[in-house]
Point group: C2
Chain length 267, copies 2
């Protein structure tokens, strides 16, 4: 039994899809979300920069006295999960492992694809994790750098989005895959477009639900669940432009967001 | 007569179009370029964040003993030019004023458009400067947030780029404009696409040449030209992933780039 909050961070608002699932599956828990909007996007930055940003974001959330850290960004999970897990004094979860589990549960043909940012795909972490869990799985890993800006422009259903999805994904159609992991929190908003390009028989997989289940199991096993609280507090921080964050966040998070605090970066 | 270098900064590689023009028009001058790749893009950040980044970049260049600072990024020029001009101990130039001068020289109908990032257009600085110089000019200011990522993905000539340009610019066709300022250093790479959407009679204007002329005039008037040097040194810094910077930079800068140094940010 523990009433401390759970902390989450992402480069922007996308990680709120994880927070939404946490709020649904752990309705007693206080949640604190940090969107690192001053330094977004992470997907085209170097491994060193992403690791530095992740360490800094975690330090801020630790100051908020969290009991569990969830790295709600695939790029940061890919590059910083092990470093944070090994160095932080609290348990740490990422979205990478839940994503891989969901993907392997979904495939029958053992031929799958992973879509992510340039940094996520270049990290090779999804490829390694899948091979580790099932060496016979054939993996097609594709970076789709324009998907995030398309979603942020609200053009996810525009004909241009379809052409760009064709550009990235048309080569997959001849590969006999049956499941695709959307390994970036923005990509679910392009679900209809991606499905149209890949065809209706392909299953599109997201890690949010699986990640929340894992968080619940972990807190239960460590006896850290908040079992009595009936009015959870949701607090939001952004490292730049809290008003814009608040505005965009409504697309991703169904609960009220009365205020977003500025988390001022050291520089 | 002064042999100190000229300093330039941009969020990424785009400002090298200004550096290229400086190298052509001031072939004796040493030049130092800083690309703030750890914090790019600037175009979707807040005025406060952009100002902080600009101040930090300038402080770094001042440590390199520069004699003139050129803000080679339209977003940073729009938000930080006056603050830097008022506070730095050396002369400062931006790309905003040279851009406006070029635009007003190009128009006959006095109906013009300015294309830039969300932050540049929201600053209203181009609109004010144009009105100040010619109150009768009719201005259409349009932000085009997807142009930068399209160029960075190398898709500037893809059909999707044309559809996105149509999305942003088609409303201009009925406005009887005759000149358009490309108020972002990435946009000249979309010149063919923009021209195709707007039609052949529209003149597309960039500030690079005008900015270099202004730099030369300023250095001459202050007696700061380097008049004897015959082998200028060009030095490059990036705040993230110097190798990627070096690779991309070749699109924008025609001289050899033997090395790019990492400028490590305080965080």
């Amino acid at each position: 039994m523990n009433t401390q909050p759970i902390g989450l961070f992402d480069s922007g608002v996308g990680g709120l899809t994880i927070m939404r699932e946490l709020a649904a599956q752990l309705p007693n828990e206080h949640l604190i979300y940090l969107g690192d909007t001053a330094r977004l996007p992470y997907g085209n930055k170097s491994p060193e920069a992403i690791l530095r940003f992740a360490i800094d974001n975690s330090a801020f959330l630790l100051e908020q006295n969290i009991k569990l850290l969830i790295i709600s960004c695939h790029t940061a999970s890919s590059h910083a999960f092990h470093a944070l897990k090994d160095s932080l004094p609290i348990p740490v979860l990422g979205v990478t492992e839940p994503g891989v589990q969901s993907l392997l549960r979904a495939t029958r043909t053992k031929r799958v694809a992973v879509l992510g940012t340039a940094a996520t795909i270049a990290s090779g972490i999804y490829q390694s994790l899948i091979k580790l869990q099932d060496p016979n799985t054939q993996i097609f890993a594709i970076s789709c750098p324009l998907f995030v800006p398309l979603v942020e422009e609200g053009l996810q259903d525009h004909q241009a989005a379809k052409l760009i999805a064709e550009h990235y994904l048309s080569s997959l159609r001849s590969q006999n895959i049956d499941a695709v992991l959307l390994a970036c929190t923005h990509y679910p908003l392009l679900r209809a477009t991606i499905q149209e390009v890949l065809g209706p028989s392909i299953q599109l997989v997201e890690p949010a639900s699986s990640c929340a289940i894992q968080a619940k199991q972990l807190l239960t096993s460590l006896n850290l669940l908040n079992e009595v609280n009936r009015s959870p507090k949701y607090r939001f921080f952004a490292s730049d432009d809290p008003e814009k964050f608040q505005h965009l966040a409504k697309i991703f998070f169904p609960h009220p967001i009365p205020h977003v605090f500025l988390r001022k970066l050291p520089l």
